[in-house]
Symmetry: C2
Subunit: 169 residues, 2 copies
């Protein structure tokens, strides 16, 4: 039986990242159709001190990779986070999905009890069991940024619906 | 050992609903301080055909109760969803937390394999195992509405941060 830490992370990230890629494709098509400069959406924010769309997507991908890697006991990969176009953001999502798909389910065995330390050596250092890390930290963070990307595009008039957000399930 | 279906649902809902209640308290204080009519926030939307804040909170609570009840094999309670003030929304959250806290962990045993049917008898009927229902449907829906409530208030200038959203963990 596949470990619950695998089942509760990789398929969830894959589903939601697929939805996010589809949302970005609709946003790009919307920009083309309405003759909107793509950067007007990619750099859009819901409030001046919130992150713009590109950064929301990068952080969502970062949580998907970081949470998955830590639960699997694998090294967290470093990505550049320098995407500035829809094509680059979609490629980032594809590379993120490829990374998490490359983590064998067997690596997640024992992940629920594995100690996970975030921001080690800093004043914000925090220790979790793998299970608490996933459920009380990783998933809430991941969903936050995926949903904010959606809300931001929806607020800017892109015709997307919750069905797009939900991805394939 | 507590069933994974319990661990992956009730504590997550409780944490995020606690965060949502704290966010609403800050929004109410903001309205009072800035002399803003509370309804201007409670009825605010990110786009004209999106749900307003009150409805986002109601739907988040509805998913928390419905998903928890179905996983526990309990009846899904009917709530009126007629809240129109911050006090009423906070009370709704409190009653929702009281409901899910009343579901004994033992009831979730076998919940992962339990067949769950949503919108039965309609063209949108859908069947899931309990596990798929929670991970691929219930949690994404719940987080969507909690985050949208946050984004909506943030967009309206309420001074909240991701720390508020995350709740106590």
């Amino acid at each position: 039986m596949t470990d619950a830490m695998y089942t509760s992370s990789i398929p969830v990230f894959r589903q939601m990242l697929g939805g996010l890629a589809a949302i970005l494709a609709k946003a790009e098509a919307h920009a083309t159709e309405k003759n909107i400069e793509p950067a007007a959406l990619i750099q859009a924010r819901l409030f001046p001190d919130m992150f713009p769309l590109a950064r929301q997507v990068q952080i969502a991908c970062d949580f998907a990779r970081g949470v998955s890697a830590r639960l699997a006991g694998a090294e967290v990969p470093k990505f550049d986070d320098d995407e500035q176009t829809f094509a680059q953001l979609r490629d980032l999502i594809a590379r993120t999905i490829a990374f998490i798909d490359g983590l064998a389910p067997a690596r997640f065995e024992g992940g629920a009890q594995r100690e996970i330390v975030i921001r080690p050596g800093t004043p914000k250092e925090r220790r979790f069991t793998g299970q608490a890390y996933l459920l009380s930290y990783g998933l809430p963070q991941f969903f936050f940024h995926v949903t904010t990307a959606y809300a931001l595009l929806r607020h800017n008039g892109v015709e997307i619906g919750k069905r797009d957000y939900m991805g394939q399930y």
